[in-house]
Symmetry: C2
Subunit: 260 residues, 2 copies
Amino acid sequence: MKWCRFQSGKTAACGIIKGETVVEVDGSPFESYTETRKIFPLEAVKLLVPVIPPTFYAAGLNYREHATVIAKKRGEEPTFPTQADVGYRANNALIAHNEPIVIPKDASELVQYEGELVAVIGKRCRRVSEDRALDYVFGYTIGNDVSERTWQRNDRTLWRAKNTDTFKPMGPWIVTGLYPDDLHVTIRLNEGIVGEYDVGSAIFGVRQLISRMSQYLTLHPGDILWMGTDGNTENMEDGDVVEVEISEIGVLRNPVIRER
Amino acid sequence: MKWCRFQSGKTAACGIIKGETVVEVDGSPFESYTETRKIFPLEAVKLLVPVIPPTFYAAGLNYREHATVIAKKRGEEPTFPTQADVGYRANNALIAHNEPIVIPKDASELVQYEGELVAVIGKRCRRVSEDRALDYVFGYTIGNDVSERTWQRNDRTLWRAKNTDTFKPMGPWIVTGLYPDDLHVTIRLNEGIVGEYDVGSAIFGVRQLISRMSQYLTLHPGDILWMGTDGNTENMEDGDVVEVEISEIGVLRNPVIRER
């Protein structure tokens, strides 16, 4: 199933995408819902961020090649995380498919994409084993963990580097019934492929992260877990278009604007 | 005005505290609301976390004595933040006044309180000056930024150290119309005073933080900003009771339990 959130009149509604149409739903996918008779052409609706999470988790550094590239740029030896210590991102920064990434005036030129898989939690979950962890995932969507590298390196936290408004594109929808390790990520800048990798090559997979997190904390329906990216990342400039494609999910596409 | 959230039958409701009673309200303090005719004795209601924030900000290291004490324990020279780089905490960890802080089995004995002021945002806010920043605060409440120091020191992020379930007591209510720099914090462990300080001695005040944050991000109604603590902090053990009192707000009280 393919779930979306979209603008329906003045309010947001959840919808199920069937072929080229969206069926509006009363309720939410995480609780009870009923399909309404309101059906819209998919191309005519404004898609919103597919879920507003109670808590926004991010694995951060979770792929070996990405960790190596980052370290090399800093003239350091790469170090890989030895345990699944999850980090956070912030809801203010979320934008939907097709909405512009806005680079602030005072950002350096080092504003870069990080295309990644996003797991959406479906059920309250506490102290689950790795074997059962995927039972608590509702579905998967796509995230672009846009990052300003000079702030990332020099600020005490990642607040500006990662959470400036518009720096967290997510969408276009959530797809259920997928097996995360089978998925493949392709990142395009202005239609040219700039990166691709297999989700399954993560240092810690969805199963490991959810199981470990849940030993200490309760995951709630709608919580999201961004899985980290692999490979090199490049600068994005005013006028660029960045796309993150994940097999079996779709394409998250966002134009880039620099404030003047 | 004193605002709370409380359990009303099976659901949560907002209320206004008047003397020793709670007046149930339809709506929320951040939008429109009307007082209902349902009035309860304050001592008879179960208070809930006074707001569930869209984004949960925390200033982290923001007082000189606390930074000095922490550095000394590590055998390091203290370093003070030179700019207001805000961090994050997570909603899963929030508990209300009177609810127990539960220390996991595998935590060290270094589980410590950090009593602090919490500013609650009332209006959407982007690029405000320091002079105008307090206009966007709805009111103030109290937080206890419970921290496991070995995890804080050794994990790659603060996820377990700061955000284990129950590690973020907040409440008991939100008080409007206060001037933050006038407030005084007193922390008691089992009724003995273990710390006190003036909010106004922060390295970065509420005004500075909100203004700076808002240069890059949009603050939303209900977002919360925890201001950091000052002074030494001590271990809490099974059976302890920790209280954070802030003048003109009240007392946030939580018992402590260690899992067996």
